[in-house]
């Protein structure tokens, strides 16, 4: 295709709650625009990582360009940009939205609007996107499209009476969505002849081409040979290839200009040079000002990751290096633990990010991992004037050397229906929150503002929020800064031996409670041995809680009948296999999952 007029371009994303049919609708749109035959369609074309498909969520932003021949006879270029949907990746979402001119809001006709959708809709409205509501799954017997339409109008304030009522699954009325995209989402603006100004919304490392940068051009034009500079990182390179996104492939082209979405390669070696949100410009003719909204994304959550099999340490390092090529927000450095041996202290955007990396390491790199309790970065002010940024509790200096400590706090905004304000406030108070205020969005919905310590929200705050609001609360936060705090290190002793990998930093007011729950949880997790095992929690050498794993009394096999020993051997093998997933601490075997499960101490 030669030069495309801006008026025929539509850049949009799809916003939906998990399971409301975003990927199915994306598949259907790709199918109906005819670039792919049905046979070529893999289910859920947009989500191409296995993990995403299994979890039904989208991890990294992706894009696809398709051609739609509209009912007015004209061909339109659609750039559909996929967005992640979790608070850990809020910043990525906001950059993806900034690359769009409109959004399709998919709402399940039976479920109605759900809390998580709202945060993204508001984010889209904040970016001045035109939002087209679409009612999906109208083929379900439980569908109530009119109720959902009213809800969209009441809660979000979007005109929704003529929203397409579709079934993405069967394809019913999806053509109406395509027409709505053409007519209701504005064409991009921007001057193709102005200095280059393009927004990076994602990047990907390819072993042949180097980093592939995904971007949206606001002004100017980019082509092979354009000398570019990333305005925030200062990285410079010369463009080797530009192109756009076919379904599942990259299609090179001559040039891309204002309003277009595409990719470029420029022999860039590391995704750390291509931060999401950075502005690409032409260094021979730079634009005057970078695009707004750029933030350097820093890890907020740290944990130790250890190979279950110590010999796999080099494999883990290689795997982390490979993942980092694609994920600038992942950080790691070597560390050692008495209990777990050699491993890495890794930094993540949040707990979901951590879990995703952990799963990818286990699945794609076949590594068996032991992960320690995630923590945040504490600032330790020593009496000698030194300040330590503490990411591993084991490195906490002796209390006598500590002048004071600070912990990170966030500004949290929680949107909740009024009936759940009470329980959510209680939750925030329990988590040492400082109430900042409340605004009513409409009669039934309020925005609660709290200052919360980050270490109180990284484990299970999101789960607790959902369970206490029956799913009707959404949550967003940003780092506010560091405040002095009365923090202590909680140590766990198993059979009188301190297990460094189980130590963590807590506020002194919660140490007793945490210690008690840790002991209870470990009692469940540590299997009975031939001897009795005390499990103790201690702060500064003082025992504050204790549980005991009783010695095993009986462990016998059933009758071995008629000489059929295979079944018995299988039982013995199972028993032996179970032990392999354990860590030897002194003479106690601790299951690897115990190191992770102690995080989920709260609620239920």
């Amino acid at each position: 295709m030669t030069k495309t007029e801006q008026s025929r371009i539509r850049n949009f994303c799809i916003i939906a709650h998990i399971d409301h049919g975003k990927s199915t609708l994306a598949d259907r749109i790709i199918e109906m625009t005819g670039l792919l035959t049905s046979r070529e369609m893999q289910a859920q074309v947009l989500d191409n990582m296995d993990l995403e498909r299994e979890r039904g969520i989208t991890i990294k932003a992706q894009a696809v360009r398709i051609v739609y021949k509209a009912k007015d006879g004209e061909e339109y270029i659609f750039n559909m940009i996929d967005t992640p949907g979790h608070v850990d990746f809020n910043y990525e979402v906001s950059r993806s939205l900034a690359a769009c001119d409109g959004a399709v809001l998919v709402v399940d006709a039976a479920q109605g609007i759900e809390a998580q959708t709202l945060a993204n809709v508001y984010l889209a409205l904040d970016h001045d996107l035109d939002v087209i509501p679409v009612i999906n799954k109208i083929d379900l017997p439980s569908a109530e499209p009119q109720r959902v339409i009213d809800e969209i109008e009441d809660v979000i304030g979007l005109e929704a009476q003529d929203a397409p009522q579709i079934s993405a699954k069967t394809g019913l009325n999806v053509d109406q969505v395509l027409e709505a995209i053409v007519h209701k989402i504005p064409a991009p603006k921007g001057d193709p002849d102005a200095p280059l100004k393009a927004l990076i919304f994602d990047s990907l490392y390819d072993s042949y081409k180097g980093v592939i940068v995904f971007f949206r051009i606001m002004d100017g034009t980019v082509r092979k040979g354009t000398p570019i500079r990333m305005m925030a990182t200062g990285a410079e390179a010369d463009v080797v290839e530009v192109g756009y996104f076919g379904a599942g492939q990259f299609i090179p082209c001559e040039e891309l200009s204002a309003g277009m979405v595409g990719y470029l390669t420029a022999s860039i070696k590391n995704v750390r040079d291509t931060h999401v949100g950075d502005t690409i410009t032409d260094r021979s003719r730079p634009c005057d000002k970078a695009l707004p909204g750029y933030k350097k994304v820093l890890p907020m959550v740290y944990c130790g990751m250890y190979p279950a099999d110590g010999a796999k340490y080099p494999d883990l390092r290689d795997a982390l290096e490979k993942l980092q090529l694609n994920d600038a927000s992942l950080q790691f450095e070597p560390e050692t633990s008495v209990a777990l041996g050699f491993g890495f202290r890794c930094g993540f955007l949040g707990l979901l990010h951590l879990e995703i990396i952990q799963e990818r390491l286990e699945r794609e790199y076949n590594l068996d991992l032991v992960t320690t309790a995630p923590g945040v970065i504490y600032k330790v002010y020593k009496t000698n004037g030194e300040v330590i940024e503490l990411t591993n509790p084991s490195n906490l200096p002796d209390p006598s050397e500590i002048e004071h400590m600070e912990e990170p706090v966030v500004n949290a905004e929680i949107m909740v229906t009024t009936e759940f304000i009470g329980p959510i406030m209680e939750l925030c108070q329990e988590r040492r929150g400082v109430y900042l205020g409340m605004e009513y969005m409409e009669e039934t919905r309020a925005l609660l503002k709290y200052e919360l310590p980050l270490n109180e929200i990284i484990y299970d705050f999101f789960d607790a929020l959902k369970s206490r609001s029956r799913g009707y609360a959404s949550f967003d936060y940003e780092l506010k800064g560091y405040v002095p705090s009365d923090l202590v290190k909680l140590d766990i002793l198993v059979n009188k031996e301190e297990v460094d990998a189980l130590s963590f930093i807590v506020h002194s007011s919660t140490a007793y409670e945490r210690g008690r729950k840790m002991c209870e949880k470990l009692k469940e997790e540590i299997p009975r041995h031939l001897f009795e095992i005390p499990i103790q929690a201690a702060v500064g050498g003082k025992i504050i809680a204790r549980e005991t794993v009783k010695a095993v009394r009986k462990d016998v096999l059933a009758k071995c009948y008629g000489g059929d020993i295979t079944r018995k051997k299988k039982l013995l093998e199972k028993q032996k296999e179970g032990k392999k997933r354990m860590r030897q601490i002194g003479n106690v075997e601790i299951p690897q999952k115990a190191f992770m499960s102690v995080l989920k101490l709260d609620d239920k």
């Binding site: 031939l530 009394r553 009986k554 016998v556 008629g562 000489g563 020993i565 295979t566 028993q575 032996k576």
Partner: protein
């Protein structure tokens, strides 16, 4: 063994080639039928019509005949009819099976021939026929001397009915009797268990098997236990269970019974040779559905498909050649079930050296010279000890 003087008059046994060059073979014959399935049972067994049982016996005979090549290498040293309830077999049917076997391969003159029996299935005629056919050992399932416990287990008989069967067996001259018992039953106390032991020992059987109840998934007992049905919930705790075990050893020991395997006790000379062959890994051949064999270090398991079997389709569910690792592991975890334990070879010392020290230190393994054995504590946690002998890699 006793009773070897009594032989069925009409048995045409192949004795001519009973030379000692042939290896000993254990034969197991599975009779997968019972009057009613007991609540705790997860063995391959179900009630069946007379007609099905007759067809099964015919199929058994054919399967036995098809194994004639075994005669070249083996002589039958022990024979065990297990089930199910083998004593459901009419005397004539059992005699036919034995007859077929002895036509196919040599049976030692002193072979131990056991039939598992359920009280309530034995009659004078049947016992006469069994003896005539050469059966010299009966294993009678009593489980408990308490009628309430018997009902709970879903047994078809009372203690009184067991006594009648037992006396009848003695009267008919069976001089080698085993009684099966089960401890750790719901609601059972140590005293209750001792009463069962006492009433059993009074009868002076040559052999007593005492297992503790293990609730196997898929049994009615498991379902009732899980649902918390009354009478099924209050299992003795682990401490009581172990005390019952200790009681058993002490009580039976005082009465001249020696524990020779984790759960088996016998008067001197009456250890069950057939069961020992499993622990000692001598070759054995199983006939009937689901029956297991070990021949030349290959393990076989017959198909469990009854319909196919009745149609004379004999097939294996699994056949696995044992590696050197498998053989060593089995030697350890089967051999250690015997109280006398295992005599260490150089290979064992080399491979298990460290483990042996660890287990000794933990007090679960005893050692006298080159012989290792489970201690009382080791018996309590035998699963753990035995599983430790499994190896990670081939050797």
């Amino acid at each position: 063994m006793d009773n070897t003087d009594i032989r069925p008059a009409d048995a045409e046994r192949k004795r001519a080639d009973l030379s000692m060059e042939k290896e000993r073979l254990g034969v197991y014959i599975h009779i997968p039928f019972c009057v009613r399935k007991c609540a705790y049972c997860d063995f391959l067994s179900a009630p069946a019509s007379r007609e099905i049982m007759d067809r099964y016996v015919e199929a058994l005979k054919q399967e036995i005949r098809s194994a004639e090549e075994l005669a070249e290498r083996y002589r039958v040293s022990t024979l065990f009819f297990g089930g199910g309830t083998p004593s459901l077999l009419e005397g004539q049917k059992l005699a036919e099976i034995l007859e077929t076997l002895s036509q196919v391969m040599p049976v030692e003159a002193g072979a131990e021939i056991t039939v598992e029996c359920n009280p309530g299935t034995l009659t004078e005629d049947k016992l006469d026929a069994y003896r005539m056919a050469g059966v010299n050992r009966l294993s009678i399932g009593l489980q408990s001397a308490d009628d309430r416990e018997l009902r709970l287990l879903g047994r078809i008989h009372t203690f009184e009915e067991f006594l009648e069967s037992y006396e009848l067996a003695r009267k008919k001259g069976f001089g080698n009797l085993n009684v099966d018992l089960m401890s750790a039953l719901p609601g059972q106390t140590r005293e209750g268990w001792l009463r069962t032991l006492e009433k059993t020992a009074e009868l002076e059987p040559e052999h007593i098997s005492a297992y503790s109840l293990i609730i196997e998934e898929g049994t009615p007992f498991y379902e009732r236990y899980r649902e918390g049905a009354s009478g099924y919930r209050d299992l003795p705790d682990e401490d009581t269970d172990r005390l019952m075990y200790e009681d058993t050893k002490r009580f039976l020991g005082e009465r001249g019974y020696e524990r020779y395997e984790i759960s088996n006790y016998a008067r001197p000379g009456f250890a069950c040779r057939h069961n020992l062959s499993y622990w000692e890994r001598t070759d054995y051949k199983g006939f009937g559905i689901g029956a297991a064999s070990l021949l030349r270090n290959v393990r076989y398991k017959n198909s469990t498909d009854l319909a196919a079997y009745l149609d004379r389709e004999f097939s294996y569910e699994s056949v696995s050649a044992l590696s050197r690792k498998d053989i060593l592991e089995e030697t350890m975890f089967l051999g250690l079930r015997k109280m006398e334990g295992v005599v260490l070879t150089e290979q064992m010392k080399q491979i298990y050296g460290e483990l042996l020290n660890k287990l000794s230190q933990e007090g679960v393994l005893g050692r006298e010279g080159n012989r290792i054995f489970l201690t009382d504590r080791g018996i309590d946690v035998s699963n753990y000890v035995l599983s430790e002998f499994l190896l990670d890699e081939e050797i």
